[in-house]
């Protein structure tokens, strides 16, 4: 499903000190330290960005596009997510942010929150008509969807088969621009202002669609200083914003679920560890009365994205202020848009956590793994480069590591040798 190049999260080897912060934090045990440097196991990485957050040396970073990517297109469309607006202070309306984007060189803006209102409506219809297993799990956070694909095979049949608002925004914006300008599609660039690396990866390796209409992604933290000064130069503010409370709500945890309006039977969880707990309990059917589950890998939802500038909880307070006088929703689903929003590509389980290819191999490796685990100290110190003794044992049976990498065992052997030589003390 994924090739190494599709990941946004990457390592700067120069800055990496080989400490164990990231390997301990990774929700899919996708990082090891080898020869004093971290390496990312590509097929396991879900681009959640936790390692970027935790790395004290700034060795992990999210690769996104630079602002001059705009030069690649004759007609440039900015796709600002709702969480962008609340990065700024003293904002009463989103209009000034949108006007600032036009000053930065974009020819038009298409708010992702507009498409979000359409996805809300499509989800509402879907819940009424579909017999998909309940609860239906949101597919809007690409890190969560990939996490399910890697760790929760039983829940694959619960994932909402609708594209994310960002993708729908790009499709609608591009169609609109083709009509308006008469330019060929490839001359029109849809540029997303991204809060997180997972959404960058979802452009390169789309979930549920064969190809993304988003052409580039510029990190919010990169556009922020430019946009801030452009916003200061905005004089008369035009009414550019075209979304309501539901659309803006998608920028924070709980907003997507609350925007369904037709059910109160939902759950919203945020932060990758909380998400894993909920998914694990969903597997055991502990919440079978729920209709809908919204999960965001980042604490606070998209406002907590690792490429954002503002503290997510302050951003949430600003969101409340910004939404206070907005209409509930300003975008309504046409039949054309309804057809665009459905997945047209399969999303499949990616069994990278399994111990081997065949059942015989997996059983044999499991037995071997248990033997190895018996000999390991069980300190989960991470010094061998694997996050736990358990994952070390798995690495050994996969042929990816050696028991000799255990520094605790090594030290015990050294001490035994020293004692034998009579040099102890």
């Amino acid at each position: 499903m994924q090739e190494p190049s599709v990941h946004s999260v990457t390592l700067n080897r120069e800055l990496c000190k080989g400490c164990i912060n990231c390997i301990k934090r990774c929700p899919t045990e996708a990082i090891r330290v080898r020869d004093g440097k971290a390496i990312i196991i590509s097929e396991r990485c879900v681009d959640c960005g936790e390692c970027i957050r935790i790395c004290p040396h700034h060795a992990k970073r999210a690769v996104s596009d630079p602002m001059d990517v705009l030069n690649n297109y004759k007609y440039k469309i900015a796709l600002p997510p709702p969480s962008l607006y609340v990065q700024f202070n003293n904002l009463d309306e989103p209009d000034v942010v949108l006007a600032g984007l036009l000053r930065l060189g974009f020819d038009s803006v298409f708010e992702v929150s507009r498409a979000a209102e359409l996805v809300s409506e499509a989800t509402r219809r879907f819940l009424q008509t579909s017999d998909l297993l309940r609860p239906v799990i949101s597919s809007a956070c690409p890190a969560v969807t990939r996490l399910i694909c890697v760790r929760f095979p039983q829940l694959m049949d619960h994932i909402l088969p609708l594209i994310a608002p960002i993708e729908l925004a790009a499709r609608l914006a591009k169609d609109e621009a083709v009509k308006k300008t008469g330019l060929p599609r490839e001359d029109i660039g849809c540029i997303f202002l991204t809060p997180c690396p997972a959404k960058v990866s979802a452009i390169r390796a789309p979930i549920g669609s064969k190809q993304s209409e988003v052409d580039a992604a510029v990190a919010v933290k990169d556009v922020y200083p430019l946009l801030l000064s452009a916003m200061k130069k905005v004089g008369q503010v035009e009414y550019l914003a075209q979304s309501g409370r539901i659309g803006l709500g998608w920028g924070e945890s709980g907003g997507e679920a609350a925007g369904l309006m037709t059910t109160e039977s939902y759950l919203a969880a945020d932060g990758v560890e909380n998400v894993i707990r909920v998914l694990s309990d969903l597997e055991d059917e502990k919440y079978h009365d729920l209709d809908f589950v919204e999960l965001n890998a980042c604490s606070g939802g998209c406002v907590g994205g690792v490429l954002q500038v503002e503290n997510p909880y302050i951003a949430k307070a600003k969101m409340k202020h910004l939404r206070r006088t907005m209409p509930v929703s300003r975008n309504h689903l046409t039949d054309d848009a309804a057809a665009l929003v459905e997945w047209d590509d399969e999303v499949v389980y990616n069994p990278v956590m399994e111990l081997g290819e065949t059942r015989a191999e997996r059983f044999a490796r499991y037995a071997k793994m248990e033997e190895i685990l018996e000999t390991l100290p069980g300190l989960d110190c991470g010094s061998c480069g694997a996050p736990t003794c358990q994952s070390m044992a798995e690495d050994v049976v996969r042929g990816f590591s050696s028991v000799n990498d255990c520094t605790v065992l090594m030290r015990r052997r050294m001490e035994a040798v020293l004692r034998a030589l009579g040099k102890d003390e």
Binding site: Q154, M156, D284, Y349, A364, Y366, E394
Partner: protein
């Protein structure tokens, strides 16, 4: 394939409710590493979770022995608890002897044993009042 089978043992403490569910979570993660079918993992984790709750609530704790073979997962839950006087009554949906404090935690709806049976491909229960209860469940994986 008998000698290839994987044996696991869990002890469920009777005095600590918050730990019920650890055995099913552990078994679930092992079954995933073994690449067993998602449907079977689901049945095992639901059935065993119910069993753990029963051991914690009714039996003051107990033991779980698991054997994973080439074609099934077999779980034996045994306790030295009060035993069940009328097994067919206990097996009926909605019948419960759980105390109020347990119900206030959301447990004790009288679905434990019926669900354990529902999610097992093979189910057996033996019980004697004052001696204890042994439940055997098997889920097919092939």
């Amino acid at each position: 394939m008998a000698d290839d089978s994987i044996r696991l043992h869990y002890t469920v403490p009777g005095d600590d409710f918050t730990r019920a569910g650890e055995a099913s979570a552990d078994l679930k993660s092992r079954m995933k590493k073994l690449g067993l079918p998602p449907g079977a993992i689901r049945k095992v984790s639901i059935a065993l979770y119910e069993g753990e709750i029963n051991l914690a609530i009714h039996a003051h704790g107990g033991d779980i022995d698991v054997e994973i073979t080439d074609d099934e997962v077999r779980m034996v839950l045994s306790d030295q608890g009060p035993g069940i006087a009328d097994i067919s009554l206990a097996m009926s949906e909605g019948w419960s002897t759980a105390p109020d404090e347990v119900r206030s935690l959301g447990f004790g709806a009288g679905m434990g044993l019926p669900n354990m049976k529902k999610y097992s491909d093979e189910f057996d229960i033996q019980s004697a009042v004052g001696v204890g209860t042994t439940v055997t469940m098997a889920v097919k994986t092939a």
